[in-house]
């Protein structure tokens, strides 16, 4: 099922959560709404689900306007950051909820629930209560619950935000596989650019209630539409001409045209890559990233003077002169 969001606006008091947002999500795709906290991405997802009403604009599912439709009637599945587990029901009852209120025959409900519990690998814990599960298990239960009613749209609001890093990576891979197996259009909200790039086909980067850029993960990384998009995908160094990523800075021991002088403050070996902390002529700190081989060739030492210039073909506005300030 495709989703068309047109000119949606939403305010909470004086705070503008969404400002004229237009976005199309293709049938069967996995789209990430990416942005810092408070950017409006969760509000947008909740509007698609019908949990919030937009002040302006419309939402359509498969071309049918559902802006005024209650969440009950939208045929969506929603997964919450804090799981929203029905804590007075067992895992089995939680997953069965959507089917039971649709008055499906008992045998069918039992069969479908068993199938889903196997899918999310919780079949051994079916009679436990949510309080007896770990965070990752609870979120898998919530996913099974949302999938039970066979929604054509699956919406996930920071689903892995409350989990630790290892579980988060595991579930990410698992969500991608689940999406590929089920016939469902998926939208995931996240503030983690690595998560978005890992799991999504398309990313919509949102900031201050506006969409900054929509595209495939590579497009956003390689051809950022503006400084915000660039800074959101990792550390950047501001040069006189614009922003550059640390690994797009080249170091040399010889002075060359367009390069600026800097002093090595520290060389940090991080396995495959090496981070070189530098001080520019004004005493401001910034960093570059080199491969181990590059660093070995230069034999950098603390206190050494080097010359810094952007590599050819680096992302961002190629500028001359380095070290205005470091932007994280």
């Amino acid at each position: 099922m495709s989703i068309e969001i047109r000119n949606v606006g939403k305010r909470f008091g004086d705070f503008v959560a969404l400002d004229d947002v237009t976005l199309e999500v293709e049938t069967g795709s996995l789209t990430a709404l990416l942005g810092p906290s408070g950017s409006g991405k969760s509000t947008l997802l909740r509007i698609v689900a019908g949990l919030e009403r937009p002040d302006a604009g419309s939402v359509a599912l498969d071309g049918e306007d559902v802006t005024a439709r209650a969440p009950q009637a939208r045929g969506i599945g929603f997964v919450f950051q804090h799981y929203a587990a029905f804590k007075h029901m067992t895992v089995r009852k939680n997953v069965a909820f959507g089917l039971e209120i649709r008055r499906r025959p008992k045998a069918e409900v039992a069969e479908r629930v068993d199938e889903l519990l196997h899918l999310v690998q919780l079949h051994g814990l079916a009679d436990r209560y949510p309080a007896q599960l770990s965070g990752g298990q609870r979120q898998r239960m919530a996913l099974a619950r949302a999938l039970a009613v066979e929604p054509s749209v699956l919406l996930l609001d920071e689903p892995f935000g409350a989990l630790d890093a290892r579980v988060r990576k595991e579930l990410r891979v698992w969500l991608r596989r689940l999406h590929d197996e089920q016939d469902v259009t998926t939208v995931i909200v996240t503030h983690d650019q690595e998560e978005a790039m890992d799991v999504a086909d398309r990313i919509a980067l949102i900031h201050e209630g506006r969409i900054q850029q929509i595209g495939e993960p590579r497009e956003l990384y390689d051809a950022p539409a503006n400084d915000f998009v660039m800074t959101f995908f990792g550390p950047v160094v501001r040069t006189e001409g614009g922003l550059v990523r640390p690994h797009d800075l080249e170091l040399s021991l010889d002075e060359r045209p367009g390069a600026s002088e800097a002093m090595v403050a520290r060389v940090v070996h991080l396995g495959f890559e090496v981070r070189v902390d530098l001080l520019d002529g004004n005493g401001r700190a910034f960093s570059t990233q080199l491969t181990r081989d590059e660093e070995a060739e230069l034999e950098l030492e603390r206190g050494q003077i080097v010359f810094v210039s952007p590599r050819n073909g680096s992302v961002g506005t190629p500028g001359l002169g380095v070290g205005e300030e470091l932007v994280q």
């Binding site: 689900a49 019908g50 949990l51 209650a70 969440p71 009950q72 009637a73 939208r74 969506i76 599945g77 929603f78 919450f80 804090h82 929203a84 587990a85 029905f86 804590k87 007075h88 909820f97 959507g98 209120i101 649709r102 436990r128 209560y129 949510p130 309080a131 007896q132 919530a142 619950r145 949302a146 039970a148 009613v149």
Partner: protein, 242 residues
Amino acid sequence: MLPIAAVVWESRANGAAGFWSVVSDSQAVSALELSLVCALIVAGINAATGTIIAWVLVRDDFRGKSLVNAIIDLPFALPTIVAGLTLIALYGPRSPVGIDVTDTRTAIVLALLFVTLPFVVRTVQPVLLELDTEMEEAARSLGAGEGTVFRRIVLPNILPGILSGVALAFARAVGEIGALILISGNLPFKTQVASVFIFLHIQSGDTAGASAIAVVLLAISFAVLLVIGAIRYFATRHEHAR
């Protein structure tokens, strides 16, 4: 604890037969019955009104809400005899609204509703406040209508709160005297509740008779405490594990 033991001891003063003759005495039976029936009615009404008021205070928003929230505690702060008197002022012989309930069973129920009003509100309110609204949103996203959301999500979670509030209100209603003594008229067989029965029997010197009924009230109180303990246990059962 010693004073309590004294009552139980005194109730045996006339022997088991004496105890039964008092407890089964028709006036005593009718007083006990009246107390229990009124307390049950009041507990039932409180279950509904208390939940509604708590819901309005937590989920609704309107000007003056914090004032309304504060007023809920008035029955805890106001002497019960004053509570009874205020009801006489509004629903007594010179009622400005033309309703006179003095010396009727309606008066008893009304006075008990006044003094027990905060119990259910104050036990349900914090639970409702803590209740994760995402649970309700999740149920809606799964297709549940508002009635289903209340019945299957909200109610099971606030039920322990409602029940403990109802149990406290019931206990309070069974034992109440201050709010009733002026407005109920204390007519034997009609509007004389158990606590007033005990009170009048003490004043007429029949402490053994008073003690017999007091022991019944005591047993009810213990039963209520037990029930509240059980509710607490079952309500937190799923959260203890792990």
